[in-house]
Symmetry: C2
Subunit: 364 residues, 2 copies
DNA sequence: CTGAAAGCGCTTACAG
DNA sequence: CTGAAAGCGCTTACAG
């Protein structure tokens, strides 16, 4: 590999060495371009000798396609998101797209972040774990850049989103806990600004209502370990201690279980049942064994990629909200109901009890 | 905001609207460029009206600086890496740099990944969690792109790296366990190709040797939950069951603890002590409370950023390997020694026992 | 199939 | 301080 300077070689240098035009070099690296085998192989030889790689930046400029997708994922502490990120990495790599990651941001102003994203002329934007979702989505819409909200929705129509069926999931958990004989229900809420949190809570309350029960006592955990622990303390200090706690995600359910066991010396599920949402890795660890509603990450990522790619192909494609279902996976953090359990693929699922009423969206 | 077409406005359009030259527009967006306040404010007004943002792609092409850093992080399952990623995001954003993330890759060939990275003409590369480190580092070196290995080293001199002092950490754990009266030592190894794993093991063995003890029994866990569980089973099935297990990282220590408790019905640390490495979030969860050596993530990230930026400024800067120390944090997963414990910042640390010999690098 | 040429949207000497 | 112009490294009609 011969290199005359420290700068990477250009298509002109390859052209000179191969004895062809610069256009021929470009065509050799463009799948489907009209070029003879003989020319292409001369070019490829020269390219190899020089260590040439097409400059994606220059290509982006002329084609107005960067093949870069911005992913905004402010917080990675909840293991759901790292898993999601890996899956996005895999899928987009297979399509020849790359990920520009915006993480570790404090939730202040959305404008600077958005400016950065737009300056790189990304082909699409995925908004996952961020308090900025709504504001950013708004700006993307105005700028005409394809955007998909992942694991959240916004009131604004015209914005694509992919979520699991949080309302139904909350309802399933309510019926599961009622069927297991619990009587005093509590909910540890996530961020108030999160649609996912609101839907889970609404579904939970609707599920209880359908069974003739009042809404749960609510304490706010804001998806944070510290705040969820504090919320648990507040709940456990009540005169009428709850016997079933639904934490808006597994990450907070872990904090709740730890707090109940280590600070109150009580047993989970002996004294109080705790259920979560997501089915992240630690939910499966024997120390927690959380009964939870699974979010089908692979499926959700696949749908998101599909929505983004369709809108990159054709920007006028109408907005769409995809909702995918998730199973209630029964483990050991909550007392179990006498019936309705089914084993599938080595996992115990709760499919419901026909004796119990099913809440509907209209109950919301 | 007026927009005539769907394409974002260019500096020419801003120039026309502001009644100045295109150069003036460019200068208005270049900090330190020579431009009058009057002209700049005319330009800024026009830019705001049109929704103009400089095209970073075009800028990159002409300046030969993309302000993009590639981060290769194949696996995010170990929570250390998401935390590291967030910190990189924060620090590079503050410097006006962006992260192109390569994750979710299977460890096959390094070439395709490297090709992708190079096509975007990134200004620097950080190689963190990947089996491809050595091969990729080699290619970066050949291509003259600044590269820093994070949490690993390569035999090759000339490659920058940032690690914690894994050898010393392994030694500290050995002395800690010896001082606590353990006699039968085991090591659950990470990937054989990982320098971090090798250093921890070497330090552990050297620490034991300095106390006149033989090397630990070794089973390989390859940093995987499944394999670490299998390794634990193999260790616990031995006639002379170990009374102290050092898992090469916390992620595997968790699997070991779960396996010992749930499959063997034994107590940690009552029947067997388990120690780890990293001090990731779950190590602090009461259910595990892992005694572990902390990796000072913020410090390691800061050093990495410093190394990368210095080499972006001046490519001829000589390679450097930075090693930062980490404390042994004492929690409840291992029996404690009678002395040498000190409380600092609300954490219990093991500072060593002067009665015990300290292993040295030369013992390796 | 091939090459000469225009142009993507900027930055930056250069001359005034 | 300002503008005209060259040029970054490509893609892609256009003409042959």
């Amino acid at each position: 590999m011969i290199r005359n300077s420290s700068a990477p070689p250009t298509s002109w240098e390859v052209a000179r060495r191969a004895g062809v035009s610069q256009s021929a070099v470009s065509r050799s690296f463009t799948p489907g371009a009209s070029i003879s085998d003989a020319t292409r192989s001369k070019v490829m030889d020269a390219a190899r000798e020089l260590g040439y790689r097409p400059n994606a930046i220059a290509r982006s400029l002329i084609t107005a396609r960067s093949r870069i997708i911005a992913v905004v994922m402010a917080y990675l502490e909840n293991l759901l998101y790292p898993r999601v990120l890996e899956e996005f990495g895999r899928r987009f790599a297979a399509l020849g797209y790359h990920l520009l990651l915006f993480t570790g941001l404090k939730d202040r102003d959305s404008d600077p972040v958005f400016d950065q994203i737009m300056q790189y002329r990304v082909d699409g934007i995925i908004l996952a774990s961020t308090g900025l979702s709504s504001a950013l989505a708004e700006e993307c819409l105005a700028a005409g850049v394809p955007v998909v909200l992942f694991n959240r929705t916004t009131g604004r129509p015209g914005v694509c989103s992919v979520t699991s069926d949080n309302f139904a999931g909350g309802g399933k958990l309510a019926r599961f806990l009622v069927a297991s004989g619990h009587r005093r229900f509590a909910y540890i809420a996530g961020l108030a600004s999160s649609s996912t949190n609101r839907d889970r809570q609404a579904g939970f309350a609707a599920g209880l209502a359908a069974c003739g029960l009042p809404p749960p006592v609510v304490q706010v955990g804001n998806y944070s370990t510290q705040e969820a622990a504090a919320a648990t303390r507040a709940l456990m200090a009540r005169p009428a201690r709850p016997d079933a706690i639904f934490a808006a995600n597994d990450h907070m359910a872990i904090a709740a279980i730890d707090t109940i066991r280590s600070e109150f010396g009580l047993s989970v599920p002996g004294d109080v049942s705790v259920v979560g949402y997501d089915d992240v890795g630690p939910a499966r660890w024997p120390a927690y064994a959380i009964t939870t509603v699974a979010q089908p990450v692979d499926r959700m990522v696949a749908e998101t990629v599909e929505l983004i790619m369709a809108r990159i192909e054709d920007r006028s494609t109408a907005a769409e909200s995809r909702v995918v279902g998730g199973d209630l996976i029964v483990r050991a953090s909550a007392r179990r109901p006498p019936r309705g359990l089914v084993e599938r693929d080595g996992q115990l699922l709760y499919l419901g009890d026909t004796a119990l009423p099913e809440p509907r969206e209209t109950d919301r």
